[in-house]
């Protein structure tokens, strides 16, 4: 499954400045793992040490929240993922 991932600025910086990438996977988790395999320094930004999704990362598929089971969410060919960093300043 070819999926487009739009990277938040802070992630794109680590991925050679690329804001949009194509990856393959049947789930969001597989897509992110592939991304981390291509850009190893992204891994700690995407996942917690225990392999869960980073607590400050939000994933949207085709503009919709998939919380709370992000990594297990199935994706299909042509889907688009947004990566958004959670913020808390006021």
């Amino acid at each position: 499954m070819s999926v487009r991932i739009k990277l938040h600025r802070s992630l794109a910086k680590i991925a050679d400045g690329r804001a949009v990438l194509e990856v393959n996977g049947d789930t969001v988790g597989q897509c992110l793992e592939q991304l981390a395999a291509r850009f190893p320094n992204l891994k700690k930004k995407l996942f917690e040490k225990n392999g869960a999704l980073s607590r400050i990362l939000e994933i949207y598929v085709n503009g919709e929240s998939i919380y709370p089971d992000e990594l297990a969410t199935a994706v299909k060919d042509g889907d688009e993922l947004d990566t958004v960093m959670r913020i808390s300043g006021g």
Partner: protein
């Protein structure tokens, strides 16, 4: 009933279709709770005071620091070292002497939040940390009053309106906490997000327009882009899962 002076002061917004004298009269009865007198709080309080909200209760335990002044526009150099709520109250009264400002210099905690919010009609999130936001969210759910979420960082911001029992709450879409501390921000970002929050509050009170419910609005100032993401209620939500769906 609006006085002649009120009719004149608010004449431009009364002219708006769907607003009118009735909408203004609703604002005149409204009691708003603003959690925080910092970047977001300065903006929301300023525009809600100017719009004619009857009571603004603003709660913040911090004192003004020099590093606040790039964005917290209710405070001045002369206020450094003083309670933020006091300088906020002073400036808000300058903006609109008709508005009653209740300035409370207390830290919001689990123990006092219900008492602080008391009989307010709604809660505005102008906090700088997620744990307190969760407390506010939970309190809004318990009291069945709307919660207007906003957050900023750098040139980025976000906003979402929560109507208990009708829309996703903060806990339906957020997990855990993020590392807190001094965050980077340029004053225009809380300016943008605070204005969006104030717009939502005014719409809710007046009863016009479509609220930002079940939608998370994400602002990217560097690319000057607004993106909306659909969010939905989590039936197992720790805060609102037990509330019946009223949407």
């Amino acid at each position: 009933m609006l006085s002649q002076e009120e009719l004149e002061r608010y004449s431009r917004q009364i002219l708006i279709n769907g607003f009118g004298e009735e909408g203004q009269a609703r604002l005149k009865k409204a009691k708003v709770f603003i959690a925080g007198a910092g970047g977001l709080g300065s903006i929301t309080a300023t525009y809600l005071a100017a719009a004619g909200v009857r009571v603004i209760r603003v709660v913040d335990h911090d004192t003004v620091e020099l590093s606040n002044l790039n964005r917290q526009i209710l405070h001045r150099d002369e206020d450094i070292g003083k309670n933020k709520v006091d300088s906020a109250a002073k400036r808000l009264k300058d903006i609109n002497p008709e508005v009653k400002i209740e300035a409370i210099a207390e830290k919001i905690t689990e123990a006092n939040i219900s008492k602080l919010v008391a009989d307010s009609d709604l809660i505005v999130d102008a906090m700088d940390n997620l744990p307190t936001r969760y407390l506010l969210n939970k309190t809004a759910i318990e009291k069945k009053i709307p919660f207007f979420h906003g957050a900023v960082n750098g040139f980025e911001g976000r906003a979402m309106t929560i109507i208990p029992g009708q829309t996703a709450c903060l806990r339906c879409v957020y997990r855990g906490a993020v590392v807190e501390g001094s965050f980077p921000v340029v004053g225009v970002t809380p300016g943008v997000i605070g204005c969006i929050q104030a717009t939502e509050v005014i719409k809710y009170i007046v009863g016009t327009g479509q609220l930002l419910g079940n939608r998370l609005l994400v602002y990217d100032g560097l690319n000057m882009k607004f993106t909306q993401f659909k969010v939905k209620r989590d039936p197992n939500c720790q805060h609102c899962g037990a509330l019946k769906d009223k949407s």
